[in-house]
């Protein structure tokens, strides 16, 4: 029953039901992309909610958004972009069969991912201290820059809606980051054992695709949550 497989070089990573490595690799890649489409739709539900309330509560969202730390948000964006570079370099190293380099880049990615999560935790903590976490203790007072005391008082409910969406969206993103860090830890372990080489590196490529996707989500979250209404 392995007639087709026998004709090609037999790779130990080739699973019995595939004819050859090309078919196996292409299947895995297509599967991963399809999975990313489900992720697009998953985040899509939240973007949909965001869009509707952003338009309905335009000014209150703007006011609430300014309380987020632009500095931390920007730093986190940079950290995440850097991690994308280390991921793509890891994939590159795997494809060229450079196992030590692969391990190094995987560890670098994990460190950057944890940095992102750490900064995020600081931001969450700040919000908690400021009573910006939705719930009975929620309280939001807009900071009025001088000369703007005529601003409408911020509607507490609408501001709370902003923070609800903020926590749900960044929270879901953070959960994806945590899963990503877990995945990369597994990859690093396998890479340490020399599991990936020139011919077999699909897990690295697919985990890389996942990481980049999570990065792309943040690329949209950053302006939508941090950058609205920063001008005065």
């Amino acid at each position: 029953m392995h007639t087709n497989a026998a004709t090609t070089e037999h790779n130990p990573a080739l699973r019995h039901h595939f004819a050859d490595m090309t078919q196996q690799k292409n299947s895995a890649s297509l599967g991963m992309w399809l999975f990313l489409v489900t992720e697009i739709m998953f985040f899509g539900g939240m973007f949909c909610a965001y869009l509707i309330y952003r338009l309905a509560y335009f000014n209150d969202f703007g006011a609430a958004s300014t309380s987020l730390s632009l500095k931390l948000g920007t730093i986190n964006t940079i950290v995440l972009l850097l991690s994308s570079l280390t991921v793509v370099l890891a994939v590159n190293a795997a494809q060229r069969g450079k196992q030590k380099l692969l391990f190094f880049y995987l560890i670098a990615t994990i460190v950057l991912g944890c940095t992102f999560l750490g900064i995020k935790a600081v931001e969450y903590h700040d919000k908690f201290v400021e009573h910006h976490v939705p719930g009975p203790d929620f309280h939001f007072v807009a900071e009025h820059p001088e000369g703007h005391s005529e601003q409408a008082p911020v509607n507490q409910q609408h501001a709370q809606m902003f923070f609800s969406l903020y926590f749900v969206m960044t929270g879901m993103h953070a959960i994806h980051m945590i899963i990503g860090v877990g995945l990369f830890s597994g990859l690093a372990y396998q890479a340490w054992k020399g599991r990936y080489d020139r011919n077999y590196n699909t897990p690295v490529e697919n985990a890389g695709l996942y990481w980049h996707f999570v990065d792309v989500v943040w690329i949209y979250l950053f302006p939508l949550l941090y950058l609205i209404s920063r001008h005065h």
Binding site: V37, E205, I219, Y220, L227
Partner: protein, 98 residues
């Protein structure tokens, strides 16, 4: 093997893409601090989309991929996302019409 004809970019190339992404991040923060009125969100989303495109095309190796299915899959994902947003807005956008 199929995966080999593409993504043979050098490390330097990836670093260039990273710098482009960082520059765009700076640009989007800068643009947000300037009052462009209704254009603020448009500019922010346009820059985000350029960044996303850079990541997808070069980091995720969609440009030059041998697989044409990948592009089909991405476009269908975006299409159905826009469908969700667009048709929902068909309700919310017209609620106040009389």
């Amino acid at each position: 093997m199929a995966g080999h004809e593409h993504n043979e970019h050098s490390i330097g190339f990836y670093v260039v893409i990273l710098f482009a992404l960082l520059a765009l991040t700076g640009l989007t923060v800068g643009a947000a601090l300037v009052n462009l009125h209704a254009w603020n969100p448009v500019v922010a989303l346009a820059i985000a989309s350029i960044k996303a495109m850079l990541v997808v095309l070069f980091f995720m190796h969609v440009k030059g991929a041998s697989e044409k299915m990948t592009k089909v899959v991405i476009f269908s994902g975006i299409f159905f996302l826009l469908l969700l947003l667009g048709l929902t807005m068909a309700d919310y956008g017209t609620r106040l019409w009389t």
